[in-house]
């Protein structure tokens, strides 16, 4: 019984690290295929469009509630001894640097990562990837590289959009429909103690890394799909689980290295 459990756990760990190694290999071949970016420009533009259109509505909804939730938590936790501008500053920073990038990325790992894996996976099992090769098209260049670029460049844009909506919803609740903080104090609190690097870190660096992880992991599990519909389902699930684990790991790692 114990032996079996240990063996199973060991096998899972081996599989996990094997997947990480193969994802790194896919990353390298994606970098190589960047030399053909002009050749695959239509696919790149298509994916940029798809990433934006698919994610903006859901990002907007999530951002509203990130703002409202953070606002309620922040004001509930702060004591009357802490100035309200300071509380608002903490809420603002926690939204921009942590809550929006990570919540949005985890949700998009579920939405985009799963759909990427399913899309490429169903192409794999129906021989469409081989059909691409017979047309002298490289599946990495045609499918993976455009999606990875879209992840890296579009996720920061979506995050900036979501941060804007989250902050606006905080402003609306705290200064417009209530007078918890005055409007001049609210805008003061946004600018207090804000370093430009922090702005880039929360809006560009983290989302770009998370976007890379979501698209790379989704593509990887799509390319590894075996079997029929069951295989596609498994690929989608694995894509979501592994990218979520990598997102939280890199959230910690980036903070440790860059802050």
């Amino acid at each position: 019984m114990w032996k079996q459990t240990i063996e199973k756990t060991g096998q899972r760990l081996v599989n996990f690290f094997e997947a990480i190694y193969e994802i790194s290999q896919l990353f390298l071949s994606t970098l190589k295929s960047l030399t053909s970016i002009w050749f695959y420009r239509r696919q790149v533009i298509d994916q940029f469009y798809v990433f934006l259109v698919k994610t903006l509505p859901i990002a907007a909804v999530i951002a509203v509630f990130i703002g409202l939730g953070s606002m309620i938590q922040g004001t509930y936790q702060s004591s009357t001894l802490v100035p309200r501008t300071l509380t608002m500053n903490v809420i603002f920073k926690s939204i921009i640097f942590e809550v929006t990038p990570i919540v949005l990325s985890l949700v998009l790992a579920g939405k985009l990562g799963a759909s990427l894996a399913a899309e490429i996976g169903s192409m794999k099992i129906s021989e469409q990837l081989e059909a691409l090769e017979t047309l002298a098209l490289d599946p990495t260049g045609f499918l993976v590289m455009p999606r990875v670029l879209a992840g890296v460049f579009m996720l920061p844009i979506i995050t900036i959009f979501a941060n804007f909506i989250a902050i606006f919803s905080v402003f609306f609740v705290s200064s417009v429909i209530s007078d918890w903080i005055s409007q001049p104090e609210f805008f003061d609190s946004l600018q207090t103690n804000l370093r430009i690097f922090e702005f880039y870190y929360g809006n560009f660096i983290k989302p770009a890394v998370f976007g890379l992880l979501i698209s790379l992991v989704g593509s990887y599990f799509g390319l590894k799909t075996r079997g029929g519909a069951l295989g596609v389902g498994k690929a989608s699930t694995n894509a979501v689980v592994v990218s979520a684990i990598l997102i939280v790991f890199f959230d910690y790692y980036l903070a440790r290295v860059l802050l």
Binding site: E119, M123, A131, E133, L135
Partner: protein, 245 residues
């Protein structure tokens, strides 16, 4: 001329192809016949460099494609076309884009020229322009196969591979596909390689026949030399999936 020597391939320790030798002459139609599960699809995919063999060589006019990288192989690949068993039409593109993808990506033709070529190939396979705006899931089995053949012919290949071109089609569509294969051979692409379990198809289109059993070539010769006893023996142990004997 394609020369295959000592080709072997196994999956998870199970041999699928063993020491296969083949010669495919220019301007001829080779039919590789055998029941399901005998390694036919693996063989034709190795010929198109979609699967790497464990051992052996596949030479196109003296160039061993197994040793070539994917990048080096690209120029030879552009001279080939492949019609897949399940058509493998790109389901995110409509028929028009499925047909024009290669031309858009690899040629400098104008949009009008591409459209003319698309129309030419769609008419060649007996379909009309109404099909161009449809997506693969909207096509019937026979239409899908004909679009797949149109996609192959638009490449103007020198060699065309068919993987079970008549599988899953009704009698009427089988007749049309057989007609198209013959027409394509005379008008577009002379060298044709077909893997099939369909004995009728073999008799109708082949110039040369290879019988494949348990991953080995058990006969290679003209269709006139294929006897009933050979076919009985070929299908005796294999899975007989609707074989028309």
């Amino acid at each position: 001329m394609i020369e295959v020597r000592n080709l072997s391939k196994s999956f998870n320790g199970r041999p699928v192809l063993q020491d296969v030798d083949l010669d495919i002459e220019d301007n001829k139609t080779l039919v590789i016949l055998g029941p399901s599960g005998q390694g036919k699809t693996v063989l034709i995919k190795i010929l198109a460099k979609l699967i790497e063999p464990d051992f052996g060589t596949v030479s196109y006019d003296g160039v061993d494609i197994i040793r070539l990288s994917k990048r080096q192989f690209k120029e030879i690949q552009k001279k080939m076309a492949f019609v897949f068993q399940a058509n493998a039409l790109f389901d995110f593109l409509d028929v028009q884009d499925n047909l024009s993808l290669f031309l858009n990506m690899h040629t400098m033709l104008s949009a009008q020229e591409i459209e003319e070529k698309v129309m030419e190939s769609i008419r060649f396979v007996g379909l009309d322009s109404t099909v161009l705006s449809k997506f693969p899931e909207e096509l019937s089995g026979g239409m899908g196969k004909r679009v797949a053949i149109a996609r192959a012919m638009i490449l103007r290949p020198e060699i065309i591979f068919y993987d079970e071109p008549t599988a899953g089609l009704d009698e009427g569509n089988v007749g049309k596909v057989v007609e198209l294969i013959s027409l394509l051979k005379t008008e577009v692409c002379a060298t044709t390689v077909i893997v099939t379990h369909d004995v009728d198809l073999m008799f109708k289109v082949s110039d040369w026949v290879v019988l494949l059993k348990e991953g080995r070539v058990v006969f290679s010769g003209k269709k006139e030399q294929v006897t009933e006893a050979m076919l009985r023996d070929l299908y005796a142990t294999g899975e007989n999936n609707g074989v028309q004997k």
